[in-house]
Structure formats: C-alpha cells, structure tokens
Amino acid sequence: MADPTPEEQEEMIKQQCPFCRINRKEIPSKDVYADDKIMAVLDINPAAKGHTVVFPKDHHMLLPQIPYETFSHMFRKTAKLCGVVRKAMLAQGMSIFIASGGAAGQQAYHFTMHLIPRDKGDGLFQSGIKKITPEEIMKLKAPLMQHITARVVQAYKQAGKQPPNVKQQANQEEQLMNLLNANPQIRDLIIQDPEKFKSILPQNPQLAQLFDGMNLEELANFLKKKTAGDQR
C-alpha cells in the first residue's frame, strides 16, 4: 500500500482526534459554550469544579498555527468566558493555562486552553522561583526584544490590521546614553580611541550587546560634538 499523502494523514488525524470527535458529537461531552469557530466543554478530569476546556473547532495542533481570524475570536470570547466561569462557580480567581509541546505537558494533538476556577491556597501552578543572573538577562533581552517586536508588528500586518505603536529604538538609544552618562570613562575612551574600545568589547558581553552593529567612528564624532556643545 502506498504511503498516505500529507492531506490523507491530516484527514486520518482529524478522524481520530478526540476534540474533533467531540465537535462532531461522536464523543459525548458536557458542553458549556459553542459558536461557529470555538467550543468549550467541561474537563472530564478537572483540577477544580467548573474547569473548562476551550478549543477551536478546526483542527490545529499549536497556537501559532491558528489563523488570525480564529485566534482573535477565540481570545475575545475566552476573556468573556473566563468571567462567566468565575462568577458562575463563585471562584476567587481564574487561571488560563496553555501548554505547547510535550515538554510543557501538552497531551492532545489539538490545541486546547484550560480555564480553571481558582481559590486561595489551592496550590496550583506553584513552582519554585529562582534568581536569574544579570548576565542571563542581558544576553536574552536585546535579541528577544528585537524579535518579539518585529513579529508582533508582522502578525498585525499579515492580518491586514494597523500594527500597535511599538517602542524599541528609543529604548536602546536611551539605554546607551544612560550608560555613557553614568560612565564618563567609557565615553572618553570612545571619543579618544574608538579602535581600542572596539578591541575591548568582546571581553564584556553586556557592552558588546549594547554596541552590537553600531558604527563606533560615527558615535565618537557624535559624542565629540555633543561634549563640545555641553562645554560651551
């Protein structure tokens, strides 16, 4: 027998997927909400009474695979549903839980989102908090900011919507100026000997991150003019 095509494979997955089967009413469920795009049912093995599972009717495995229109609709309705469950179950609070990937505890091959009524001292989602080193933070911050910002803007553009008014460039420049104002010796070194400054950069990952991709000669000229202006 020939290997199934990707389309056939997908069809097979949909046939077996428990959430697709709930949607087709092949499996009984305690449904609490449904519209043309999403469905919400009670979890059969709940963390608390009223624990609700929300999922898109179409088969998608991961959150990033869900088309914008469904994504948008799902979270708008989920926000409201969260309030409905909280009030209906007289809960002190609510949690929304999403697991993506097996390592995170995703069990189904269909994207699901858990709405769990919470009460003080229920002990849910408690994991030890540890101190993250400033080096770790510095290493992650700039690349994360760059990519998250770009991808948020891209997501809105792809959906044909006006992207949010993001702040990025100003922050980086601001950060740099703060650093130079706080450390006049670095500023002086850049003005006097940009080449030497460049050579010491690799020794300090924090600085290297901040000065990554920057034209040091230009910066030196800019600082020269600025300090001359300040002195006048």
Partner: protein, 173 residues
Amino acid sequence: MTSCVLCGIVTDSSKAPVVYEDDRVMAILLEEGVVSGHIRVFPKKHSQFIDEISEDLAEHLFLVANVSSSVLFEALGLGGTNIIMSNLASDDNSHMFIDVIPRRQDDGLNLQWEPKKLPEQDMIEAQNRIKDAAFMISYVAPKTKVVNLDEKKLPVMKEDKDNYLFKQLKRLP
C-alpha cells in the same frame, strides 16, 4: 495604585528588562522567575480580571504572549512553553499578567494539576451554571427600529363631509 509593582514598571521602564512595549501592553523578563527566559506580559492600565478589560486588549495581550512564546521556543531551542494567566484573590486587586514559561524535557517543573474525578452530579451542576450564563457571550442585541417623531408625519384629519367622526359632531339632538 502606587504600591503596584507592574504599575511602577509602566511608569519607569528602566526598573525591569523590557522585551516588548507599545501603547497598551508591556512584556518584561523576570529577574526572579521559574526559569531563565520567563517572560511576563501585562496591560499598562491596572486591571485585575481579563473579563474586565476590552476584548480587543485581551486579544492583544494573548497575541504578544503567543509571539513571545514562539520567539523563546526558537531562540532557546525549547521543548515547549506554557502560557499561564492567573488572577487570584479578588480582595487584593492585583495587576493581571500572563506568564510565558520556557520548558525543556525533564526540567523538573511541576505546572500540571492533579486530575480529579468529580461526582456526575457536581459535573452536571457546574455545566448548568456555566452554560446558563455563557450563552450571553455571543448574544447580539437585535437592532431596534427607532422612530423619529419629529420626522414622522402624523395623519392630519381634514373636515370631510363623509367622515362619520365629523358627521356625528354635527348631528342635531
């Protein structure tokens, strides 16, 4: 709210390592987190519950969380991520947030709950209570026709010989 940590960061973004910011939403790396790369996404305006903010903002918060999750997944070569929003204890009016937590195989984090089995009666009761309120989510108020009395011309009665309303007035006793 002066004592709120997140509001403090909104006022002065140098207080925390910001990884995303726009007019309505901010995301920071936690300096004390579950694991390195733990991101917290929150609305700039102090709000406690997700159902109390606009649907538009709720969607935007989760879009930023989703993008943060994808970026972390690729940048750190993860085995998965958790996106968790928790609002707890309605009495302390805490600032709502969504956590994005990097996950790796056998990382020893326990974010899963103990699955319970509730009596059928409890399940039916919960279903009824939620379902009864949930149908309102999609309820769209039907458009009511507004009658503008200034524009609408009321029928004017003219004196008409054949009209019995007038005839009876002229009837002699």
